[in-house]
Amino acid sequence: MALVQIAAAGPVIPNYAAQSSSCEVHNRFFCGEWVSRNWGPVLWPALREHVLLAVVAVAIGFAISMVLALAAHRYAWLERPTILVTTILYTIPALALFELLAAPVGLNVYSAEIALVSYTLLILVRNILAGLRAVPAEVLDAAEGAGMSRRQTLVRVELPLALPAIIAGLRIAIVTIIALATIVYVVYDRGLGVPIHTALGEGPFKTELIVAGGLAIGLALVADGLLVLVQRLLTPWTRARAG
């Protein structure tokens, strides 16, 4: 029924002028009215998708990096190949990696996430390893003397002491990924890259660029701040020592 009505109405020619303010027509520096009109349909969904893309990428990247770093920590010979492979992945420019993945994987969420995850690995593996390495030998001796098994030492001594370095890695990773996720749109039509791309296609329309870009930067700073808070809560002893 609805289809018939649409067909009967003829081609739909949207009348942009009717709903555009003069600010938009003249492409002034910033049009607040445009933002309030497009927040619901365009900006808010893009922001939510962006958060999801970044959080999923960092979560998966963290899980993989943890396994790689613990393996390299236990078997020292694994460190060199792990760092080499993750460095090569990190070195490939983002746009190229997205396109390279598009051939075998397709234009979908998997290409986007695989590329994003691959950029977190080097950052996270390096920081987790650096954190574990920095645990003083005396502390390890004390743990052994207290009768802790290897696993107990790892879980109850080494990982907690490595937490500041691990969270520092997570901060770098999330900020990097939020910035990178703005070009995810080339393989997967989600995130803040979409309004940025639209705006560039339109001429470019300043308000949309400023709002979408500002949201991406703001999101990165908020995520960074949240992780600082998490670190404060999880590692109260580092503050006690400093104070």
């Binding site: 746009l95 075998p104 070009i183 560039l200 700073l221």
Partner: protein, 239 residues
């Protein structure tokens, strides 16, 4: 996998001389990418190395040096390009400005950490030997700082190559990004071929800079390669 074969065919066809009327050869585009990037990195090095080294020498401004690095990472290159585009119109100048904005932070941060992290005992020993401040800087601190300082420049060079291709998405032509951003003309195989070229270019530049770094690193420091070679050594240290 078929696409990959087609992509390599595209590279073979357009590598040295172009098969497309509108497209310069891939070698030409790669060299252009390199040129645009080299200008950006050169400007950034001139601006950032003295600042970072100076702050590191004074052991001051760690908050600025480290947080400038973090803010730099938070700026998406496409956003920087797009905003530059909105105000100045997209040309080589805007692209270079964007490249410099993205390349300066990692260089400043690493230069700072490199010089700041030089063993204080060595600096004291140099002072005891009667070296002037300038001598301490140029003959003790800078040589010891080379690995980390170079790590920053390498990170910056990668950002720059990456961003030069992304600039094509914002409408800047004259790099390998031209092919990547124009699937309509070059088909998926062309896009993939150009992406492979960009990846190879990035790895080659990183390799070349690593070689330079090895040559100018003092012999005594070359042993500790693994700890300091990849670009992110500084970040673990920063925290």
């Amino acid at each position: 996998m078929h696409e990959f074969i087609e992509a390599f065919r595209f590279i073979a066809h357009n590598g040295a001389v172009s098969g497309y009327p509108e497209l310069p050869s891939l070698t030409h585009l790669a060299l252009e990418t390199l040129k645009v990037g080299a200008i950006g990195v050169a400007i950034s090095v001139v601006l950032a190395v003295p600042l970072g080294v100076w702050l590191g020498h004074l052991h001051r401004g760690s908050f600025i040096a480290i947080n400038v690095g973090n803010i730099g990472r938070a700026l998406p290159s496409l956003v920087v390009l797009a905003i530059g585009d909105a105000f100045l119109g997209l040309g080589l100048t805007v692209v270079e400005v964007a490249l410099v904005i993205l390349a300066v932070p990692p260089i400043v941060t690493n230069a700072y950490l490199a010089v700041d992290g030089v063993d204080r005992d060595l600096v004291d020993a140099a002072k005891g030997m009667g070296m002037s401040e300038l001598e301490i800087l140029t003959r003790v601190e800078l040589p010891l700082a080379v690995p980390l300082l170079f790590a920053g420049i390498r990170t910056a060079a990668l950002f720059v190559i990456s961003t030069t291709t992304i600039a094509a998405l914002a409408g800047f032509s004259g790099s390998l990004g031209d092919v990547i951003a124009n699937e309509t003309s070059y088909h998926f195989s062309g896009v993939l071929g150009a992406a492979i070229c960009v990846a190879v270019l990035a790895l080659a530049v990183d390799g070349a800079l690593t070689l330079v770094q090895r040559t100018i690193t003092p012999r005594g420091l070359r042993e500790v390669k693994l700890e300091q070679s990849p670009a992110l050594a500084a970040e673990a240290a920063a925290t």
